[in-house]
Amino acid sequence: MSDKSTNKTAFEPRIVAFFCNWCTYTGADLAGTSRMVYAPNARVIRVMCSGRIDPQFIVAAFRSGADGVLIGGCHPGDCHYQEGNYKALRRFTMLQRLLDDLGIDKRRLRLEWISASEGDRVQKVMNQMTADIKALGPLKLEPMAFAGIGLSIEADIAVAAEGGA
């Protein structure tokens, strides 16, 4: 991933998109083969089912520098594994609330049902989300190691040295 610019006018959002194999990923494939042009800001990760998307993946994406996360799954009733998309919806609903309580705008996490035949919808959603996040600006979570001493504490030491505020 390229360096994130702090200049707001030049800000290009980084979006991580988790697409399910059977519907949304195939839909994105269709958008590609149909030569539909859309914002190139999303890095698509294919998973077998939207129900496979562990909320840990999403928070790790934000922590690793994503400005937004998009989840794509099959329409209700269409899940290849019967119920995976319902799980995804419940996790998404709760996680969006949790992230909101931690100061992450709800628009940074989006869930869309896109079927294999809806290439145009992939195009529309990608463009829309990119525009939304451009308007929101970058999310500056700094990279953090998963375990051990992953955090620099210089900032707090500096504060202490200044006598706090």
Binding site: D54, P55, V59, D101, L102, I149, A165
Partner: protein, 329 residues
């Protein structure tokens, strides 16, 4: 041969961890027999100068409880790290940030304002708030600087082992002390507790239905708990399935659902996200509206899923209140 020297210290914690040491009961005599308690300011009269006078690595092991949230705690744990061969993060706060870690949903300014003026029981007409340095006629008085963000112990110094729990179960403390004394320690960085989920040792394990689905989350005060049945199956938000075992289901045995103080097993990176994931997967609701209604009873998602682990999580703190000091973590 002289007895190995042991230190105990506390930072941002409630004192419950020290209670857990006292809970060793008569076994504490065996411990005192085997080791030399060289630093334990809560129970015995030791000063910072006693630590400063020690040689590097003089303490065989130091158990530190509490999260790190001010300059004094940071200074002390840095000194103790230097003077100790082993550092054990003792209890949820040192391990994952613990309850004090929930302060990361606010910031220093908000915390001071709340504690020194907003709280209804506080009368503070002069707007007095703690100053790090105050001039009086006898000289300058100083107080430690409160940090904007609460940190886990391993986010400020290197930690060798972790003893989880709020407070750590006596049995695990005993095992850890014995392991250290006999030198039979696992690989560095290990959590000195079993690495399976609490459901494994839960007395209600067998009452858990084959396919568990929940229609409605309930709070313990809203139902009459059946003391023989899986609490999650009764609709209580029990986090046992994602929480590390080792407490022998102490809360569940008292009809209270597990809140996750032992933290995750080694297979989970972010406790709260995984806990949310697991709980959301067993809900029956499928429609968006139905789901929203059903989740209304989870009033505080951060306090529910990250109750003991916000500073150790990927999110670490509330993002938009981090301030402009570069302390966004």
């Amino acid at each position: 041969m002289s007895k190995p020297k042991v230190g105990l210290y506390w930072c941002a914690s409630c004192g419950g961890c020290e209670e857990a040491v006292v809970d060793l009961g008569e076994d504490i005599l065996a411990v005192v027999e085997a080791v030399d308690l060289s630093f334990w300011p809560v129970a015995l009269d030791f000063k910072r100068t006693d630590v400063e006078a020690m040689a590097d690595g003089e303490l065989a092991v130091t158990f530190i409880n509490g999260a790190i949230r001010n300059s004094e705690q940071f200074e002390m744990v840095e000194k103790l790290r230097q003077k100790s061969q082993l550092i054990v993060a003792f209890g949820s706060c040192a391990h994952l940030g613990g309850i004090p870690g929930l302060a990361n949903v606010a910031n220093r300014e908000a915390i001071l304002k709340e504690a020194y003026s907003n709280v209804p029981s506080v009368v503070n007409d002069n707007g007095t708030s703690p100053q790090e340095s105050t001039e009086v006629k006898e000289g300058t008085l100083t107080l430690p600087a409160l940090w904007n963000t609460v940190k886990t112990l391993d986010q400020v110094i290197a930690v060798d082992y972790y003893l989880p729990g709020c407070p750590p179960p006596v049995k695990l403390i005993k095992n850890a002390v014995m392991a250290i004394l006999s030198g039979k320690l696992p690989e560095k960085g290990a959590v000195l507790a079993p690495d399976n989920a609490l459901c494994d040792e839960c007395p209600h394990r067998d009452s858990k239905p084959e396919k568990l689905t929940i229609k409605e989350f309930k709070r313990p005060s809203q139902i009459k708990v059946d003391p023989e049945q899986c609490l999650l199956a009764q609709g209580l938000l029990c986090l046992g399935s994602i929480t590390r075992a080792g407490c022998e289901a102490a809360c569940v045995k008292a009809n209270m659902p597990c809140t996750g103080c032992m933290g995750p097993t080694s297979h989970v990176k972010d406790y709260g996200a995984k806990a949310l994931s697991a709980l959301m997967s067993v809900i029956e609701a499928k429609e968006a509206g139905e789901i929203e209604t059903m989740l209304k009873n989870v009033v505080d998602p951060v306090g529910t899923f990250y109750r003991y682990s916000l500073p150790a999580s990927n999110m670490h703190r509330r993002y938009d209140l981090a301030g402009e000091r570069g302390d966004k973590r």
